[in-house]
């Protein structure tokens, strides 16, 4: 079997995380290619359904990236998103998908280095976890 | 006289009554009931027999009451609304009376959540107020709760509980009045540690003349240890153990704590004796029945009067 390269979806809020990704870009901070960003206006826009669907379609990892606590452009969307992520993590456990495959992270717009660091750490973590059980099951 | 109850006689004669309690065993060991009740022989006027206390299954209060009765002592049969519907309760009351039990206490009962069968349904077909009404109806009017006539009415001396420390405080005197209206002949209160608050409650009781309408037995408990004091202050709902009591327990070495607990209890009794309307004491020495004698002795409650 070829080397496992996880597919990771990163839902990034426009105001902080997506801007931090741009920041990582302009500072040329490297991170693995496995992370694919989907832009949302606020991390609270990320529906539980989007996350679950991503896993159903075969994502190995998903993370939702919002602003730092207290910094949400829409008052408290990021805190709401964090609670939702926790809820979906429990559901993933029920389904039999390791909840560590889903994460909420927070960063400010200026934290390019953190964006790259998070992307790297999460990719490493998922790599260690191996392919998502759903992916394995569909491959059979 | 409403009944043949020894407790009623003591109270009616104007003596300070003394009751204590005895938790039935968690198994078929009638000798345990005997041992525990023997500690109280000649010390108290009636022995409360708890009904699945703290929602833990024990020998039925009816059976344990009968065993105590067989010892020639006076059981105080406790009945809670938690475990039985009105049919079962009335059946037990008739049964108890038929076996010579003439004094009872009507309670709501601790919630099953706290016991060893949290899965069990809480019956609560009727509440403690309605239970009082029901027993009074059986005794005075000779009818079942459903309206049918009783052939031979149970002449019970009817008790109820009161907790002067629970909230809403302003309702606590009214609630007592309501229980009296429903049929309570005597009252046993929650353990008193906060005497100030109890006095405040009694003031309200006297203002309404309730102490003249029923007998109020003030509940007291000796703390066996600092841990017990802390537990009661923090964990038992509706229990008011002021910080001074806990501090006082904490101020003595461990081996002296039981002694200190007894001291506090006796001082409390002495203080309560001066409160107008207190007709006696209900000494709850949970799993420490042997200490009751010392408390009564030192509090000047012995020997018990003969009636």
């Amino acid at each position: 079997m070829e080397k496992f390269e996880p597919v990771i979806v990163a839902f990034c809020c426009h105001y902080c995380a997506y801007t931090a990704a741009d920041m990582a870009g302009s500072q040329r901070l490297p991170y693995p290619t496995n992370v694919k960003v989907i832009q949302v206006p606020c991390s609270c826009k990320v529906d539980a359904l989007h996350i679950v669907k991503a896993f159903e379609k075969g994502a190995d990892g998903v993370y939702v990236a919002g602003c730092l606590e207290g910094d949400c452009h829409f008052k408290n969307g990021n805190e709401k998103a964090a609670r939702r992520v926790e809820y979906v993590q429990k559901y993933l456990d029920e389904i039999g998908i390791e909840s560590e495959r889903l994460e909420m992270v927070m960063m400010s717009a200026g934290m390019g280095y953190r964006f790259a660091q998070v992307a790297t750490e999460i990719t490493e973590k998922i790599r260690k976890l191996g392919p998502s059980p759903i992916k394995t099951a569909t491959a059979l | 006289m409403k009944s043949e109850s020894r407790l009623e006689k003591i109270l009616a004669a104007g003596h300070l009554a003394v009751t204590s309690e005895c938790g039935p065993p968690r198994g078929c060991k009638p000798e345990d009931v005997v041992t525990k009740s023997k500690y109280l022989e000649g010390i108290v006027d009636a022995i409360n027999v708890t009904d699945n206390q703290t929602a833990m299954v024990r020998m039925s209060s009816l059976a344990a009451s009968v065993i105590i009765k067989q010892q020639g002592l006076n059981p105080l049969f406790q009945v809670t609304c938690r475990d039985r519907n009105r049919l079962a309760m009335q059946a037990d009351i008739i049964g108890a009376y038929s076996l010579g039990i003439d004094t009872m206490l009507c309670l709501s009962g601790d919630h099953t959540k706290f016991g060893d069968h949290p899965q069990a349904a809480n019956v609560h077909d009727i509440d403690s107020m309605q239970l009082l009404q029901m027993v009074k109806g059986m005794r005075d009017d000779g009818v079942f709760q459903g309206g049918a006539e009783l052939k031979g009415a149970p002449k019970m001396f009817i008790g109820a509980a009161a907790n002067p420390f629970a909230d809403p405080f302003e309702l606590r005197v009214m609630r007592l009045a309501k229980k009296i209206a429903a049929g309570a002949d005597f009252i046993q209160t929650q353990c008193i540690f906060n005497v100030d608050k109890f006095e405040q409650w009694m003031e309200g009781v006297r203002a309404k003349g309730l102490h003249k309408k029923c007998y109020i037995l003030a509940g007291v408990t000796p703390c066996k240890s600092l841990g017990a004091a802390r537990y009661m202050s923090k964990r038992v709902p509706g229990m008011d153990v002021p910080k001074e009591v806990v501090d006082r327990m904490a101020s003595v070495p461990k081996e002296k704590q039981a002694e200190e607990g007894v001291n506090i209890c006796i001082e409390t009794i002495e203080r309560l004796k001066k409160v107008e309307g207190v007709a006696g004491f209900h000494i709850m020495a949970i799993e420490w029945e042997e200490i009751v004698e010392e408390i009564c002795e030192r509090a000047g409650l012995l020997p018990r009067p003969q009636v």
Partner: protein
Amino acid sequence: MITAERKPLEELIEYIKPFKRILLLGCNECVTVCSAGGRKEVGLLASGLQMAMLKSGNNIEIRQHTLERQCDPEYVEELVPMINDADAVMSMACGCGVQEIAMRFKDKPVFPAVNTTFMGASERQGVWAERCQGCGNCLLGETGGICPIARCAKQLMNGPCGGSVTGKCEISDDVDCAWQLIWDRLKSLGLEERYMEITPAKDWRSGGGSGPRKIIREDLAE
């Protein structure tokens, strides 16, 4: 409204294991409002079941549909074209909805996906609390509009037990003492003396004590 909570996935998987094609049904009434069985939860459950089954090597087909109301036969009739394609139905409606499906489609297995919990109100976003037990003989008029049967852990009808502390019930700090609430209400209505009236033992026949209940409005019933 009627409130419900999704059953653990494990239990649901056991139900559908023998089947290949499942029709997962939501209801746009109470269970939507309490976020237990609306379109969104149907989507989440469909996806979750699909994945859980895949993991155990079963590739099943789940179709999703949400009815306006599952406890009315006319709405249930909508399902006729879909029902034949399904080996079994799993309903996210309350117990009433599940039974309606079972009655209408006699030869189709139907399973509940939620536990119907209580009749309640939404205290705030995401929090629902029991308010009524449908005793059939409402005494809210006597108790200041707060129900001691549904909201007192001991169903006390004549006042608070000794476990009421600072407005909370002894069974949990999260539960308000119903009698504290009743008393506060009576006070603010100036009806304190009402407390002194003893509520007699309740007649439970109206509360289901004499078997399953039915309401018939002669003027409407055909």
